[in-house]
Symmetry: D2
């Protein structure tokens, strides 16, 4: 059998571990061959194929990023190129395609599956917002890095009696903010699921300093937004350098809090370091199991599905179901935070 | 309400995070008080009580070990001292006791519950072998440390073309060996669940060197045993120093492999470093949620149960059910390793 | 004898280790007492004194920040308050003052010494730009953190074929950029000591991609500046939010490079995480030795000096000499980089 | 010009960084070629040559171990094989040989230099015991790992009120024990330079527990020895498994202390993990500078020397002088510990 594989969307610690597992399982358990396509869907359309064997994936387990390279999904190009896609897959004799990627990649995979292309998906998202799976690889690494950084910021905040805002990833879901905030003992956690009230935050800050606490650490998802009417998030427009200005929510909130509270407020944006580098042991195991089970599903003919973590087991769920909605933090998980912030 | 809490058995990263969560939830959500008993069940019988408030648990989230101290369970003393236990709890006006511990502690808790003492348990085991919960805190930290260490050993083994055996924790279950072995790309993983055949291991070693590989890394649970007839694990008897000799399975296997294979074999026993130090972010979150939900259960009157992780939710399971058997690695998980070793 | 101690300026990993060493050496070796002043020179003027004994410094070795708190130096207030300073020191019976701080703190210390106040200084600078000492504590920690972060960014840059700019600390000296850049294999290192030429950087970027390299990592001191005429660093003025805009050199260079090179360029500003958290073992040893030798000098009456690292020995150098100039990266060290960048 | 390079003795974090620097400097600055010999001196005699270019050393900076492999020095074979050595070097047109290694390798290099072979040495020792240089690469990594591990052991020792002995590397010199012990706040540091008195250690343990301290951590060089008459270190003889028994000093001391003090004593032997894995940023910079300056010296014709760190500068010292004696911890450094142990 011949398996095709590609990685789409932003990079994520564990992608290489998935590739290694797909190759090892396919070659060792089934005697199959694996062809990788470089640079995501774009590379598939451009036929950037490269054979992957056990030697090529030998040192990949501990490496971040993706040896295949990746490119942000261009769904329209893919739709337009269905014929081309079939042809490239046929040219290489690909029996099943295993796309590894986020919402965009999996939506494309679901559509290809509907069009009759044999597909098994592997979910990938730093933000942990893909539905129908307990967790995705990369998330634990991002939370670990963010937690390490916030641990470090505590002592600086204490020494200078400051308010420190830390912006973490999470455009649509607050999983990273919630987990890193809980793990690092943040006093405030702001997530997209629950718009924040600037006045309440000012009161929390005052209350802490009034009762003798030395500092405030707040963790903020990049996608957090204020309650309408309490503060306005502004688009940066065109700045003095002639560039489109982007100023994140944490920075804008920081300015607002400094103005209103009179305290020294500093903002740190963690950025790309959350998605790079060697995966945690948790993510290496999860990525390996995802890759292994995707290869098994491919050889069994269980097409149109995505691998998923349910408890301690790897399950298969229909791609269509998985991409129907994003998985956000549910209200009962947000309620859990009440005794751990403030 | 008054909550009693104690930590029993060996120490484990995350114990302090559980204590912090029990205190914060009880005090902030319910206005209750919390009394800690030092040094496990022994300290309860000796009435080593100490009040715990929010200030006392303030810096505990990131610290390993247990601020209450711990002592190995002495079940017989506890059985004999039931009257004494009731009296100490009554003296302090304890409404519910939250024991945090492993199999021994939870078995004692189940028995106390049968005797009518209101109890909510929190499972604690580095080895991850407590049943009815997907995972326990401390395990992820132990696997992370072991993985880091094995990552480091790879380069030494390569440079010297050696066979390296690494003994990790796991007396009755191979979870740490399996996860650390998968995460670090070990070529061989030996667990208590599946007795090993020395001759097969020699063949695997020869096969690797014959096909040009530079080294072999094997991860071995401390509780792994040979297949009867293939090698004899010896009790060390009384050694030349007049001490009871203990030589672990990895060391004995190492000697055997060196003798049989003619290769240079080195053994590393990771030991206590696996159970000390700051918990991973994963374990901090899990321990916090366990402590929080135990406090909620205590206040709701859900006695005789243990908190447990089911998927992403914290559930309650009857203590009796949880201690009925150890959770070992099931055959289908062992089978998963076939493409990742050798 | 009675020793006074304070920490001035920004916080720095190792400050607590210096405090611990001053206290342990003074108490154990000399039977002296130690009084700490909170919040730097400001706290001295305000008489925020607190006795420090061995118990109080017991857990400080591994903690970042400073248990005494710190405040940016206000030299004029100090000059105006010389009489007040003498009086506070006299009130507490302080025989020698040990100020731990950067250029500002040490300059104040030199001036106090001239005025007859017995002083022994301890140099502190993340940036490593204090003269007359090979190294200062905190620097190794900052370089380690920056290196870890750049290691992580490599894989992201590779996966996306990007140019990544990383801004590190170093207002007047490029030590952190040079060391972290060498340690992490950066392709370009920009420092205050050598103004950069944007056109040359564009050529370097083109040359790398032309010969098949997958990415470019540049490390940039916050104090780096362009060669006059090649690019203009702009003051941000008042921005669209009504705040004084600060846009760092790396961000401005990033926009410029993206516009000129047509490549995707991303900028990461590491910020405060470089100065927080537990010190490296190197910094713990250096800070401990600095504190110990400062206490010895104080007891020997070697006033007006600063402790310094010369090779492997701790020496004393006159404070006046140490603050006469900043230590920047010399031309022969910059020349060393020629085979390691590009 | 043609440069030969080899790595001898045990592996060490930073070896690959030296190789990378030798190659980059030779190729980029001088247009020279570099030939590596695999497996140390043995591989030179066996002519296991492999050309090294910039591509081959591209990813080596962060990797532990040595890509060339290494083998323990066999000096006699080398002496016998002088003619063979010259011939192999001639066959490959090698103008200068750069051996990277410890005392054995450098002694061989000094001898080859006397015989007229152009040689520039690079010192390599985890133990930091090569003379005439302030530090060697690998040492900082070993100290960092040991410190991390001891940090972790503190919480276990506290929770169980134990005495914990940690054996670290250092056969002839106590540098690792001293630095890791100072960095991790050990209560006792035992080194080869100062034989220990078991009775004094028992008194220190009693004194700590008597005054309410919760635990004792001792760091012990593998080469530490007892004062004659206070305890006998025994050779293990042939053990019950028919193997030559080796029981390290820490283990034997642990048994002795448990017997004499009545306290629970546990021993951890850190072993190979101290010498594997990615080097610290400090070691990467030092190794890079050593390799770079060795290549410059080779091209300048400064033969018979070894690169060395003097303060912040890389110097050259005659190989003969460097190998004349081992660098042990001097008495004034040992005296520094008095306020930091006990």
């Amino acid at each position: 059998m011949r398996i095709g594989v590609l990685t789409g969307g932003g990079d994520c610690p564990g992608l290489n571990a998935v590739l290694r597992a797909v190759v090892r399982t396919s070659v060792i358990e089934y005697g199959s061959e694996v062809i990788g396509f470089r640079n995501g869907w774009r590379g598939l359309l451009d036929d950037e194929a490269t054979p992957l064997d056990i030697g090529k994936v030998d040192k990949l387990l501990t490496r971040g990023g993706t040896t295949l390279g990746t490119m942000r999904a261009a769904p329209q190009a893919l739709h337009d190129g269905l014929g081309r896609t079939r042809q490239v897959l046929d040219d290489h004799g690909i029996d099943v395609l295993i796309p590894i990627g986020g919402e965009g990649t999996l939506t494309a995979a679901a559509w290809l599956s509907d069009e009759g292309v044999p597909v098994v998906g592997v979910p990938k998202t730093i933000d942990n917002d893909i539905d129908c799976t307990d967790l995705t690889f990369g998330f634990d690494t991002a939370v670990s890095i963010a937690t390490d950084m916030i641990d470090r910021l505590h002592t600086t905040a204490e020494s200078h009696q400051r308010v420190l805002l830390v912006e973490v990833m999470g455009r649509h879901a607050g999983w990273i903010a919630m987990h890193a905030g809980m793990a690092a003992g943040a006093h405030l956690i702001l997530m997209p699921e629950q718009p924040f009230d600037v006045e309440e935050i000012c009161q929390l800050i005052s209350a802490r300093f009034d009762r003798g606490d030395t500092h405030v650490i707040a963790v903020i998802s990049e996608g957090a937004t204020p309650k309408p009417g309490t503060m306005e998030l502004r688009d940066g427009g065109i700045d003095e350098f002639g560039h489109r200005r982007f100023t994140g929510v944490a920075q804008q909130l920081g300015w607002e809090l400094e103005a209103r509270s009179g305290k020294e407020v500093r903002t740190t944006v963690l950025g790309h370091v959350q998605r790079g580098g060697t995966p945690t042991s948790f993510d290496r195991v999860l990525a390996t199991r995802f890759g292994m089970h995707a290869a098994h599903a491919a050889h069994r003919g269980d097409f149109g599905n995505m691998v998923a973590l349910h408890g301690t087991e790897i399950a298969l769920v229909p791609l269509k179901e998985a991409v129907a909605r994003l998985k956000t933090v549910p209200p009962d998980r947000i309620a859990e935070l009440s005794a751990f912030t403030g």
